[in-house]
């Protein structure tokens, strides 16, 4: 560097110092901008890469994980791997691909215990509470159960069977006389382990595990479900529920679910007191 020059004037030395500093700041700044932009892109985890149980939200995870690989080492099923630079996952961070090897959901969660930084949150002690992702039955056209067959494999392999995935019965409109057993994922119970995706017998899985924020919808904060609010309040909030009045020919009656029937109605069950809005219960109604 320009250090050995003999005594220059203070002004010249200051000038040189400022020029040197500017040169460095600009060169390194350019490098920094490049790496910074790359770091922003690296935060976009591809949907197929799933973080180990207890992983913080991706943005926080990338500040917390120091890429030591102890979770990889302590995984008894060797499902985790550290991303290499050519992979679309932040270099050195752990992930797994459910279709290749899903999480076996060890009860003692050794990967989380091994993590020295808490990038895998040590508050997670019950593996059934983990949210690695959320299974979604993405392809309803090819899912065998949707076609009316009894594949049921995703339902059967689910470690949280009957809670995370249930089979919901529907009429098979194609045959008109059979049932469809629709595999239905319940987000509050699904851990995102990926066993369903791994086990799906199709060439490409019809059910896939996605990051929760990608898989899950969310109603507006102001949105209320009337029937839920009604139940909470113990009755209608705006006007009393009144029984529906049918205008039917004599001798006919209508029953919900059965349609029009002939004959007189069976003796009515003791009528429950009409639901009255609480606000109006003070007055006589």
């Amino acid at each position: 560097m320009e250090r050995q020059q003999p005594k220059k004037s203070v002004a010249a030395a200051r000038r040189q110092f400022l020029i040197d500093a500017a040169r460095m700041a600009c060169g390194v700044g350019l490098l920094g901008v490049g790496i910074g932009l790359y770091a922003r892109q690296a935060k976009a985890l591809p949907p197929l890469a799933i973080r180990p149980p207890g992983a913080l939200k991706e943005g926080d995870f990338l500040g917390a994980c120091i890429r030591c690989g102890l979770c990889v080492r302590d995984c008894p099923y060797d499902i985790l791997s550290l991303a290499t630079p050519e992979e679309p996952v932040a270099t050195g961070t752990p992930y797994f691909v459910a279709r290749q090897l899903p999480c076996e959901m060890c009860e003692d969660i050794p990967c989380v215990k091994a993590c020295p930084t808490g990038a895998l949150d040590h508050a997670l002690t019950d593996i059934n509470k983990s949210k690695m992702g959320l299974a979604v039955l993405v392809d309803q056209e090819n899912c065998l159960n949707f076609l009316g067959l009894r594949c049921d494999i995703c339902y059967r392999v689910c470690p949280v069977i009957d809670k995370a995935i249930t089979l919901e019965q529907q009429l098979n409109a194609r045959t008109g006389k059979h049932a469809l057993f629709i595999p239905t994922v319940h987000s509050e119970a699904c851990t995102g382990c990926g066993k369903c995706e791994k086990a799906c017998p199709l060439e490409v899985a019809a059910i896939k595990v996605y990051p929760v924020e990608l898989a899950k919808g969310e109603p507006g904060k102001h949105y209320r479900l009337g029937w839920v609010e009604q139940q909470k309040a113990g009755g209608s909030l705006v006007a009393p529920d009144t029984p529906h009045q049918y205008n039917l020919p004599e001798g006919m009656r209508y029953e919900s679910g059965k349609g029009l029937l002939s004959g007189e109605a069976p003796p009515a069950a003791p009528a429950s007191p009409p639901a009255v809005p609480r606000a109006l219960q003070g007055g006589k109604l």
Binding site: A25, G32, L62, R67, R73, T84, E86, G92, T117, G118
Partner: protein, 295 residues
Amino acid sequence: MSIGHDAIAAKGWLRAHRWLLARRVSQLGILALFLLGPLAGVWIVKGNLSYSLTLGVLPLTDPLVQLQSLLARHLPETKAIVGAAIVLAFYLVVGGRVFCSWVCPMNLVTDAAAWLRERLGIRGGAHASREARYWILAMTLVLAALTGSLAWELVNPVSMLHRGLIFGLGAVWLVILAIFLFDLFVMKDGWCGHFCPVGAFYGLLGKVSLLRTAAVRRSACNDCMDCFAVCPEPQVIRPALKGVEGAGPVILAGACSNCGRCIDVCAKDVFAYGTRFGGRVENVSASARTASTCK
């Protein structure tokens, strides 16, 4: 005449390569300890240089990575902090950039490039300030704070190489090859001597670390210049060897990595390891100033 010829003649080949051999044993030994697990199933050390657990009890954390994580506003588990404290304390004793010359796997690559460069007689090339690494170090810390992520670790060749050797290389070999060729053809000691922020971080520790190389018998120097030729940071030698502006014999510059090449290559046994307080005869402020301005 090749570097170290005099030393080999005076001391014999083995003594003239003593510290070099020790360094290679250290570098390869540490790597072997890490590889023993994945290759042979003998788990003495788990992890990599970013964080490792030895025998299930001793945590060791890369303090720079940990610092970046703290700046990204994440507070780790206690063991990561303890590990960083142990590593910091260790290098504050043995010399900051001892990491570079005795532990870091990148050193094997850049030393190979430097050796081949010498053998092929490649001279000159691009120039850059050796201060650049401190600027890059500052940039890595600023990036961690701004992006809230370990941005530098996405591209850090040092951790990439070590992690790659243990967990799978992928395309890391490309990065390493690029640095090797850069050091070989573009810039002498380019990566380790000019740009690596990991080395810069340890260099800052080296400014106050206890164990230092010193030109204890500098009166015996016969100006053969072999130490300057062999040293990857030759600018650190002059103040201590020549007593510039009354400097003491201890090499105080943080950039010195205590690699011991000068000790090996000197036929007159001018250099030796000692403490930073050893043999310092001249006044402190003068020697400290010289050391820091001559980086």
